[in-house]
């Protein structure tokens, strides 16, 4: 299907020429190539979901939706339920999002709003991004050998004096929700900080001028103008950070305590879906493997829902003047 070209360049003295047939061929093959890769990725995703889903079928038909609300996990009695893990996943991720999000956004503000000379801003930005390069197993080890001994006195103090508050109602016996959440926050912090910084840097200088021109103080400019303007990007950063927290496995498997319990207490051991999968796969029999696939589907569904909700909220609040 040859495209009709405007001819006439020969007669005129214009320097513009229609694209040559080689240009057009290159254009078309490039388009075909990108199209193929896009579809291949989508197919791969579908294939993964399909495989996991199929292997989960025996467990789904045996345990049904009761699987989601039951709290027992007894391999010998063939009784399985993942409510504590769903709780642990969401609870740890929300707490980490709260902590990591707060510090991530604060850091982004500090590194983009002219508090520091430009060079220093860039140096600090890179150092913070290095946090993302630390392997999660190293975080886990650091949590066990450094963090837990470090926070134990604080945890004891809180439990002894403020034990009536549900969050402090048990004592820290070692691994547990609190160290897991702390490490998780550190792990999502670089993501949140980096993407929020991008959002702040994307604000044009004239917007800042407008804010100061109205007579804002520096903090008023940040809180009333810069933060709302960057909110779309910041929200995206939080969703990504939350997604990362939900799926984080190794560090949590090492730090969360792997206890099949539901507790509000920060010091109680708990479990998460990802940690459950990682720790039970090696010795799983046929039925248990299917059960774990079912749990994997649930985890997948949760992350999917979070991402869809995030995308929906972002498109509705609309960063910039799309609407």
């Amino acid at each position: 299907m040859a495209m009709k070209q405007l001819s006439g360049a020969e007669e005129s003295h214009s320097l513009s020429r229609p694209p040559s047939s080689v240009d057009i061929l290159f254009d078309k093959s490039f388009r075909a190539l990108t199209c193929t890769f896009t579809w291949a990725t989508i197919l791969l995703l579908a294939f993964i979901v399909y495989k996991i889903g199929r292997q989960a079928i025996p467990a789904v038909s045996t345990y049904g939706l009761g699987f989601l609300t039951s709290t027992t996990w007894d391999v010998n009695a063939h009784e399985f339920g993942i409510l504590p893990e769903i709780w642990g996943t969401l609870y740890s991720s929300f707490l980490a999002l709260f902590l990591g999000g707060f510090f991530g956004i604060t850091i982004a503000i500090f590194l983009t709003q002219d508090f520091l000379p430009h060079k220093l801003e860039m140096i600090l930005k890179n150092i913070i991004e290095l946090l993302a390069a630390i392997p999660s197993v190293v975080y886990g080890l650091w949590g066990i050998y450094v963090l837990i001994p470090l926070i134990r006195p604080v945890a004891d103090l809180l439990h002894d004096n403020l034990g009536w508050i549900p969050f402090f109602s048990t004592s820290l016996s070692g691994p547990g929700m609190f160290p897991a959440v702390l490490v998780l926050s550190i792990m999502i912090l670089p993501t949140v900080a980096a993407i929020s910084q991008d959002a702040f840097r994307a604000i044009p200088h004239k917007t800042k001028e407008a804010a100061f021109g109205m007579g804002t103080t520096r903090w008023e400019a940040i809180l009333r103008v810069m933060l709302p303007t960057a909110s779309g990007g910041i929200f995206g950063a939080l969703v990504l950070g939350f997604g990362r927290a939900l799926g984080e496995t190794m560090a949590l498997a090492m730090l969360v305590g792997n206890a099949n319990e539901i507790s509000l207490s920060l010091f109680a051991p708990a479990n998460t879906l990802a940690a459950l999968l990682a720790l039970n796969f090696p010795e799983a029999g046929e039925l248990e493997a299917s059960v774990l696939m079912y749990a994997a589907c649930v985890l997948l569904l949760i992350t999917l829902l979070v991402n869809i909700a995030g995308a929906a909220i972002i498109s509705r609040t609309g960063s910039g003047g799309k609407k």
Binding site: K206, G213, M214, G215, T217, V225, P228, G321
Partner: protein, 276 residues
Amino acid sequence: MLMEAQSQQQATKTHQYDAADVVLDCQAKQIFYSDFLAVRDSHVPIVKNKITGFIGPSGCGKSTVLKSINRMNDLIRGFRFEGNVHFHGMDIYDKKVDPVSVRRNIGMVFQQPNPFSMSIYENVAFGLRLNRYKGDMDEKVEKALRGAALWDEVKNKLKNNGLSLSGGQQQRLCIARAIATEPQVLLMDEPCSALDPIATRQIEELMVQLKERFTVAIVTHNMQQAQRVADQTAFFAVDISRGGRTGYLVEMAPTAELFSNPQEELTKEYLHGEFS
């Protein structure tokens, strides 16, 4: 309305302003961006309840001088202002003066429209909220939007994002935002460059109305506009004699006088080029 402006121009011609009428006295000895000398030796007195026009070729430092008047340039790294700007008997470049309060009293409309990424209503209410205004917000917002000749176009979509408007509408939104708090002095940097002739006339009428209560300084490339609205006109030019490109004030006079009988050769040439 325009007749009124012209008759006032006639009036200023006969009596020269005295010091008491000058609300803002800008004496810029040297203005630097890092080590680049952008403007030198420019004394621009801005008379109360009058419109002062800034004209001159591109790059001669009109925006630089205008932004120096409310310390907007403090945001730019490497910016340095030598001289002083007297406002209500104090120098706004004095160490003790808070630039924030200067900017609250001396509002600004920028060369590029720069509405906030928030609703049209919130854009206009921004300054009112900032100044903790307690009265009827809706009324003030409507009044400011009417003043900026934008009300009819946006009254049914006040909740839409300000950035969803067209360029010219955005500029009028910025004007509405600036006049909502009724600053004593309003600085406008080419406020009409993105507007069609009708909106331009409306903004000009607004300026003429505003000067009854406030003071206005406006940068414009439109000589007709300067003649239509400005009571005083300051002509700037670029001096390339010393190797740099330094802007300076060539002359300043009541508008009619400057246009009909310029004293300086440069002014003559510039105006001549404009009108031939």
